[in-house]
């Protein structure tokens, strides 16, 4: 049992918490993460007027340190590759060196001669795996024929696993992997999206077009059209993909996996290996970042399970950083935008076309194009999305999929339109502001406080001091540019189940099979439960990241905070009702005739909403009821009334400084003003948005996966040559959360923050670079050579 007992003095205005990890970590019995007792709990006032279904808030909305923070700063947090068990076998992947063709033969004899090597698995020498496409389809698989690792001799992409070396030590497995010789029959491949541009096929219309955009564009007073380019990008979470599979005897497995969805992995493994669900437990208490790359189960989990079954031993497989480039990626895309406006600066025509890329075997795509006609008012809008196939792995979701890229193109085009109109770019956004979702039945938004984002963001940035002329502002040898853009994301919700166990001592365990990929899920779950159950935060422990817990879909799309929080409130309400039922048995019960709407949970007691002096402690209720715990498990789903659009918004303001001679670009300031409903934890929320902003800096200036098309191989498959922002690239970032009350989107009014922080950032920076230099680069990343051209 690992127990951390350090004192943590709270900072001002902040509830500092330390966490306690309970359980024998190494053997997989990972206990809940608990908010421990540091700061005395402030009494919650009983609010007589408050609505029954909503908790009285005390922790919700309060900046709170992560309850898993202590584990993370002491090295106590265990990630997928860190569960050490006796007799562990180490696996190493041998990857294909061609992009397309088939394996003629694999010679593993030299590898097998290395002492310490146990076996080499290949498609010809492995335990049985399922042989239908359906068996390999995970919960979030796109249409098509999913990749089957080590299934047959076909090569679908460069870096595809073709053999798996199993050895007693990792170094031996790695050495032996270099001694496996593979002969291929090579076929012509194509990995260049620009060569496959003409082969792109049209996807079903992403949203209904309206009016006649082509005619309206032709007739417009002022027109802008442009083509915008985004390269392939890779997620590069700091933690490599890894699975540790422990052989628990009798064919039972525990799979410690890096994933955003333990139950998705569990179903997938069971289906491929035809295993009983009770025999596979997938555990993932901590995830070292994922950003979408962990939504689908990755091939290492299949290979690790395959090896464990082959040897009937525990196996670990960790991918190298290079091998992580053979997983999914943000698809490269070519976008074309046409905007037609009146001289007064209102839009009359929007055309947004996109071509994105996928593999030869699955059709992954999202809707890049429709954000345009959602964000701005226009009577005419037309969308076309085409997909083209390359000899690469299937593309996948990467932070803010579709909006990050679609809005980059749109917001760059809007900046160019503002120039054409000689209008301030912020003023253009305000003139085109849309109060309704014209894409989907012209319905209003459940809430949309984007105007306030523009106002507060501009004020904090000092936007009114901007000189509209490009190259008009400078600081010594550097040109200074100010740009802005808008961001938008969907407020999504998914069905989820939460179990709460309340014990007589006033402690509660909250359990759900969701993940915390660094987003702060542990902490917000504890905050919501503490408020909903009227308990101190320190009395709440959270269990997540375990497939045996109550049902949760993958964590993605910014939907977990809203879904799990409302799930906790629903289950807490059931706990309250059960307490009331028992409380009625108390002799002379003050609640004899009370309905559940009339009581609340506060300070460890059941309290009357009508008369705060009428109260019974949880302990007394349980004593009378002769129970020592109350357990409830409830599912929550969300009925969309179809009468409202649910979206989060943001306004971005960026300052860049560009060296006039060398074109070195620095992003010196960014203000991100976000309207995303109720903010559960301003502290972790700030980190999420700030992280998104830095991703935007990477997207604008650094990130690009480069392929040598001759070999169909990624040239910069490492984290030195695939550039991500480092500390020195990041300067002043300010995040504002604009007040936005939303009673429609869900009972707690939460919209989620995982994606919105990134959307729009790259455009704001690109627009600032134009403003600084007078040069418009429509091809990300904006590297200095492109400014020198």
């Amino acid at each position: 049992m690992a127990q951390f007992t350090a004192p943590c003095p709270p900072r001002e205005g902040d509830i500092s918490r330390r966490s306690v990890l309970q359980g024998a970590v190494a053997l997989g019995a990972l206990g809940p993460v608990r908010a421990a007792d540091v700061v005395p709990h402030a009494a919650i006032a009983v609010d007589h007027k408050s609505q029954v279904s909503k908790p009285m808030t005390s922790y919700i909305g309060t900046a709170t340190s992560r309850i898993d923070g202590h584990a993370k700063v002491t090295g106590g947090a265990k990630y997928a590759a860190e569960f050490n068990v006796p007799g562990l076998v180490h696996a190493f992947v041998v990857a294909s060196t061609i992009a397309k063709g088939r394996i003629l033969r694999i010679d593993a004899s030299e590898a097998l001669r290395v002492e310490g090597v146990i076996d080499v698995l290949t498609h010809e020498k492995r335990p049985r795996m399922a042989d239908t496409d359906q068996a390999y389809k995970d919960d979030v698989a796109p249409e098509g024929t999913p990749f089957r690792p080590l299934y047959d001799g076909r090569i679908l992409f460069n870096g595809q696993p073709v053999a798996l070396v199993l050895a007693e030590r990792w170094e031996i497995a790695r050495l032996a992997a270099s001694l496996v010789h593979v002969e291929y029959e090579q076929e012509a491949h194509v990995t260049d999206p620009y060569r496959q541009r003409e082969a792109a096929f049209v996807l079903p219309e992403p949203a209904k077009s309206r009016g006649n955009a082509a005619e309206a564009f032709a007739a417009a007073d002022v027109r802008h059209q442009g083509e915008y380019h985004v390269p392939i990008e890779h997620h590069n979470p700091m933690e490599p993909f890894a699975s540790t599979v422990t052989w628990d005897g009798g064919g039972k497995l525990t799979v410690y996996d890096k994933t955003q969805g333990v139950q998705n992995v569990q179903r997938y493994v069971c289906s491929i290996f035809d295993m009983n669900p009770d025999d596979v437990r997938v555990v993932s208490p901590f995830v070292g970042g994922a950003f979408g790359s962990g939504l689908r189960p990755q091939y290492q989990v299949v290979l690790a399970v395959l090896a464990a079954r082959a040897l009937e031993r525990s196996v670990r497989l960790v991918l190298t950083r290079q091998q992580m480039y053979s997983l999914g990626y943000r698809p490269a895309m070519i976008q074309r935008i046409e905007l037609g406006a009146t001289t007064g600066g209102t839009l009359n025509a929007i055309t947004h076309d996109a071509i994105t890329v996928t593999s030869q075997y699955e059709d992954f795509y999202r809707n890049e194009t429709t954000w345009s006609g959602l964000l701005y008012k226009s009577a005419n809008a037309q969308y076309t999305h085409k997909l083209t196939r390359l000899d690469l792995p299937t593309s996948c979701d990467m932070r803010g999929p579709s909006a990050t890229t679609g809005v980059y193109a749109l917001e760059s085009a809007m900046d160019e339109l503002a120039v054409a109109l000689s209008l301030d770019p912020l003023e253009l956004r305000l003139r085109c502001y849309s109060d309704r979702d014209q894409n989907n039945g012209d319905v209003p938004f459940s809430s949309k406080n984007l105007r306030e984002c523009y106002r507060q963001g501009a004020e904090m940035f000092g936007w009114e001091k901007r000189n509209r002329e490009p190259r008009s502002m400078r600081d010594g040898s550097e040109l200074v540019g100010w740009g802005m853009a808008t961001g938008v994301w969907e407020a999504l919700q998914v069905p989820i189940t939460v179990r709460i166990k309340l014990t007589a001592n006033g402690h509660a365990e909250v359990a759900c099979a969701t993940s915390d990929i660094g987003t702060g899920t542990y902490t917000i779950m504890a905050q919501v439960a503490a408020d909903a159950l009227g308990l101190p935060l320190d009395n709440i422990s959270i269990k997540l990241g375990d497939s045996t817990l109550p049902q949760s879909p993958v964590e993605g799309g910014s939907w977990i905070a809203a879904s799990v929080s409302n799930g906790i409130v629903t289950t807490s309400n059931a706990i309250r009702e059960e307490l009331l039922r028992l409380a009625k048995r108390v002799p002379d019960s003050p609640f004899a005739n009370a309905t559940s709407d009339e009581v609340a949970l506060a300070d460890g007691r059941l309290v009357s909403r009508l008369d705060a002096s009428r109260a019974i402690s949880i302990a007394d209720v349980m004593r009378v009821g002769a129970v020592d715990r109350i357990e409830q498990e409830k599912s929550t789903s969300f009925a969309n009334d179809g009468k409202h659009a649910h979206n989060a918004h943001s306004a971005l303001f960026a300052e860049v400084k560009v060296d006039e001679q060398l074109s070195v670009i620095r992003v010196t300031r960014i203000v991100s003003a976000v309207a995303a409903g109720r903010i559960l934890n301003p502290k972790t929320a700030h980190s999420q948005v700030m992280g998104g902003v830095v991703w935007g800096i990477g997207m604008a200036l650094h990130e690009e996966t480069l392929i040598d098309h001759k070999f169909g191989r990624i040239m910069n498959a490492n984290i030195a040559e695939y550039h991500v922002p480092v500390n020195a690239d990041v300067h002043d970032i300010k995040v504002i959360f604009v007040e936005e009350q939303d009673h429609i989107v869900n009972p707690l009014g939460i919209k989620g923050l995982g994606e919105i922080g990134l959307v729009g950032v790259a455009a704001a920076i690109a627009n600032a670079i134009y403003h600084a230099t007078g040069k418009r680069v429509r091809d990300l990343p904006i590297t200095l050579d492109k400014l020198q051209r």
Binding site: G75, E115, E239, R321, Q688, W695
Partner: protein
């Protein structure tokens, strides 16, 4: 803790003594064993992370004789007799080092995977005494990548810890 004696013998293992977090450890390692893998696999000190294994990310940063090093680029056999401090040994038992506390206070991480490396690197940075300004902290912490991008909070946390450590060294 070597699990396979055949391998141990055939690889001509070398005996190395290290002091890890204050405790003497005698290793018998193959010459190719990195300090990172020895810590994680043999001593079960998994607080030190592997992000790239190539000296590109800083996740594996530990202190060797008080200096920050990438343990993935350090062979155990090169460090016979050295004192190694990992995240698990940074603070006296049970307590938190000022940097650990500052990282919690400033939310200087999200997923936490780069965090042990950031904290050890920051401890090394403070010992070097070179970083006085935020810009210098940024520059001298740029060998530690954080994909969650907690960078501004990392700088703020280091600043807080520096002031605490100057007050009561």
């Amino acid at each position: 803790m070597t699990q396979n004696n055949t391998v141990a013998k055939t690889r001509n293992n070398i005996s190395v003594a290290l002091v890890v977090n204050g405790t003497g450890q005698r290793f018998s390692v193959a010459p190719w064993t990195t300090l990172l893998d020895a810590l994680r696999d043999q001593l079960d000190l998994t607080g030190t992370k592997k992000g790239c294994d190539h000296g590109q990310c800083g996740a594996c940063t530990v202190l060797v004789d008080g200096r920050r090093v990438n343990s993935c680029l350090t062979l155990v056999v090169m460090k016979d007799g050295a004192e190694v401090t990992t995240i698990e040994g940074l603070a006296p038992s049970g307590g938190l080092h000022p940097l650990q506390q500052a990282f919690i206070d400033h939310d200087a991480f999200q997923c936490g995977y780069c965090t042990p490396g950031q904290i050890c690197s920051a401890a090394g940075l403070i010992a070097e005494g070179k970083a006085k300004t935020d810009d210098e902290i940024r520059e001298l912490m740029s060998g530690n990548l954080c994909r969650c991008a907690a960078y501004p909070n990392i700088v703020a946390a280091i600043r807080q810890a520096m002031s605490v450590m100057v007050e009561k060294p």
